[in-house]
Assembly symmetry: C2
Homo-oligomer: 228 residues x 2
């Protein structure tokens, strides 16, 4: 990672010898933060010589990104153990500029490149599924039924190393041309956007009298929760 | 479009002769709705034989998805006129199930496959940039400076046909195993998530006395706007 915020656009900068250890440490923390904050990733694989991008859930633990899929999807199974690219993007705002070409988005994005390895060790597989489940629903794993042998047999679990990963962040206002700023008269700024949780909805088949658990309740927007 | 909701996972279903015209019409409306509601897409291209996924802005007009990029990124320029896959995903909620393997996300996603064509006609280029700008910031194009000749020369504008596109929607509660439902005792349901706008932030270099324009004000969350 580096100036590689631009990895996707200028992949020749992937390897850089000039960076400081301090900056690498900061970027690694930024990368983890983006990966941990996202809900879904976009996984790019090669299928029949063409790229295919699909949204999927994931989880991170240490230097590893975990993915999973159905063992039934043969093509996809093969594709997911070839070269892949995984992107997680958080949009933070629309940047309104004084000229059309300077409109932009504020965002944080992480992109990981590599070749996933299938996990076969039974304990490691269950751990990876725990990481993925806890990523989607922190605190839920310990209170739900764990995967059965049958479910495990139908599931492919993959590990992608975070070695070749980059993070890119854009924040702040528009970068307008000085002439446009001098001319004045056009509003410029940022319209922030964020992910907001709603109020938990009971499943239609839920037995009566079962309260929303703490891990769900605490994740919901406090302002949207019913007053207690 | 087809059964193609599942394009990414079962690409052999791409062409289907059995579907009804009515369903195709509905799916087309759903596809447009997802593409129009997204803020960024994830573009997958082939670079050096490997897939590369990056977030980027876009716009849709009729049967065409527009993308743009810098003419300076030679590799990317070549890659973007090869086979590509474009995904737009809107996450609507986290699905909490009674067992780990039934956790899921509610989402709407559109995936488009094809080979973008570079737009060279000057008027068509400006129109495509208008569509992209209006997608990011509806209502803004007419009140900001249009692209200059220099800006246009530095910009690659691409058109991707929506012919090979699919839409996939998951909604509702968990699909738990009957035995887990019978056993009871575990909360199940959905924690909704949505995109929420904040209050517009003036650019630091904005002259004083310039009000937030109507197109920005109306997009912001009404509840977050200052009382007037």
């Amino acid at each position: 990672m580096t100036e590689t915020p631009r990895i996707p656009l200028s992949p020749t900068t992937r390897s850089t010898l000039t960076r400081s250890k301090e900056r690498a440490r900061i970027e690694r923390a930024e990368l983890d933060a983006v990966l941990d904050a996202g809900l879904v990733c976009h996984l790019g694989v090669l299928l029949g010589g063409a790229p295919v991008v699909l949204p999927t859930i994931y989880g991170r633990e240490g230097d590893t990104l975990y993915l999973h899929g159905s063992t039934g999807a043969g093509n996809m199974r093969a594709a997911m153990t070839g070269p892949v690219s995984v992107a997680v993007t958080l949009v933070d705002g629309v940047v309104y500029a004084r000229s059309a070409m300077h409109f932009s988005m504020n965002f944080r994005s992480a992109v990981v490149h590599g070749r996933p390895v299938e996990i076969t060790d039974p304990a490691a597989r269950v751990n990876a599924l725990r990481v993925i489940t806890e990523h989607a629903a922190p605190g839920a794993w310990s209170r739900v039924r764990p995967p059965s042998k049958k479910e495990l047999a139908a599931t492919m679990v993959l590990a992608l190393d975070l070695t070749e990963a980059s993070v890119k962040v854009r924040s702040g206002g528009p970068k307008d041309d000085p002439a446009d700023i001098d001319n004045g008269g056009v509003w410029a700024g940022v319209l922030p956007v964020r992910q907001a949780w709603g109020e938990p909805i009971d499943s239609a088949d839920l037995e009566s009298g079962l309260a929303v658990p703490g891990d769900v309740r605490e994740r919901a927007e406090p302002s949207l929760l019913p007053v207690r």
